[in-house]
């Protein structure tokens, strides 16, 4: 009964997490060969202009740059996680909206009201790397926390797969010898790397 429970959990958890594992595998390859992409002259971040307008809205008195950014993003229907640079009295405020597929750079000039939206040109390796690095509970949005939880679930699942996989291997008597050899080889090689590079 315990064995069956372990096998089913191993499998159903893996099926649910297929998209995450796929992204982590592909992104690891892309990051491991980052030199290939940079050598090709493929700049990691390129933006193209999406729109330009004069912002006619008004901000509350004493509004902080962050409050201004939130209002601008809401007006543009681009609400979500962002980082920013600049102050209300600065020449311009730059907002980077962290969209997973198409991040956007919004540049606002408080004095003239000039508002420009640029969209990051899609490239597979930067998309993969972005997804790989997205994590943590530092943002104020529920969905960001949900993503961070999903990342933690993947971490827990990896540990669980290792343990339950070990259990299932040991139950298959016919595989013990070759399985043991693979395990020893892996551990030995990992140990060699650990102390030599």
């Amino acid at each position: 009964m315990f064995s069956k429970f372990l096998r089913r959990t191993h499998m159903y958890l893996a099926l649910f997490l297929v998209p995450w594992i796929l992204i982590y595998a592909l992104s690891t390859m892309a990051m491991n060969h980052r030199q290939f992409f940079t050598k090709r002259g493929d700049s990691p971040v390129r933006f193209e202009k999406e729109s330009e307008q004069t912002y006619t809205g008004t901000f509350p008195l004493q509004a902080t740059a962050r409050q201004m950014a939130l209002q601008l993003l809401k007006g543009l229907n681009l609400e979500g996680t962002f980082s920013m640079q600049g102050k209300p009295e600065s020449e311009r405020i730059t907002i980077l909206r962290h969209d997973p597929i198409f991040p956007r750079r919004i540049t606002f000039a408080p004095k003239s009201g000039q508002l420009m939206v640029e969209r990051q040109v899609f490239s597979a390796h930067t998309f993969l790397e972005r997804m790989h690095r997205r994590r943590g509970y530092q943002h104020d949005r529920l969905l960001e926390d949900a993503w961070a939880i999903s990342v933690d679930v993947v971490i827990a699942a990896i540990v669980f797969w290792a343990l339950s996989g070990g259990w299932m291997w040991w139950e298959l008597r016919a595989t013990r010898m070759w399985g043991g050899a693979c395990l020893m080889l892996g551990v030995g090689l990992f140990g060699l790397f650990l102390f030599s590079i």
Binding site: M11, V18, N32, P100, I101, G180, G186
Partner: protein
């Protein structure tokens, strides 16, 4: 040997061989996801100065500073894996590292001064160092071999997905709940892509 058996055995033997990397990537993800768990309450031990001396080297105005970094290490009797970066026009930093230790070498260009500081061992640095290590820019065969293994682990993940899906489909009674789990995962992931 049938295809079915071949796929099952590939799934299990590959997993056993790659188990140390698999476990390492799982555990070493924690300091990235929860950096606050690994922060020492008192800030932890400080760096120690290994040397602080006069030194002169011409830093080229090109983006590839690796040669200069290698020369700095060679001139000062240091060796190992390293990275080079220039945080500002007056500084050049060479980061010398292994899994267990790290030394930050700062060249103050305008002062013609070289400072080397050893970083104290920290579990978070050890784990993140293991996790982030990869690529093929180091000039040693073992480093390249590690890079190849990182590719192999990534490929392993893809093989587990493929063979796992095959084995699931073979188990007829699990198709419904398995399909639900797979569909649920894909749906949740697409939702994240769309709404994050």
């Amino acid at each position: 040997m049938t295809l079915n058996l071949l796929l099952r055995r590939t799934h299990i033997y590959l997993a056993l061989f790659l188990l140390p990397w698999f476990g390492m990537y799982g555990i070493s993800s924690l300091p990235f996801s929860h950096p606050e768990w690994f922060k020492p309450p008192d800030g932890g031990p400080q760096r120690t100065v290994r040397f602080d001396r006069s030194y002169q080297i011409t830093v080229p105005q090109t983006s590839d500073l690796r040669e200069t970094g290698a020369r700095i290490l060679q001139d000062n009797g240091l060796q190992g894996s390293f990275g080079v970066y220039q945080p500002n026009p007056q500084r050049l930093n060479v980061y010398l590292f292994s899994f267990w230790s790290a030394t930050e070498i700062t060249y103050f260009i305008d002062q013609k001064r070289l400072l080397a500081e050893d970083q104290p061992f920290r579990w978070s640095s050890f784990l993140t160092g293991l996790h982030a290590r990869g690529g093929f820019e180091q000039e040693s065969l073992l480093n390249d071999a590690w890079g190849v293994l990182v590719d192999f682990v990534s490929l392993g993940f893809l093989v587990w997905i493929g063979t796992g899906l095959y084995m699931w489909w073979q188990l007829q009674p699990t198709r419904f709940w398995g399909g639900l789990a797979l569909g649920g995962g894909v749906l949740a992931f697409v939702l994240f892509l769309w709404r994050l």
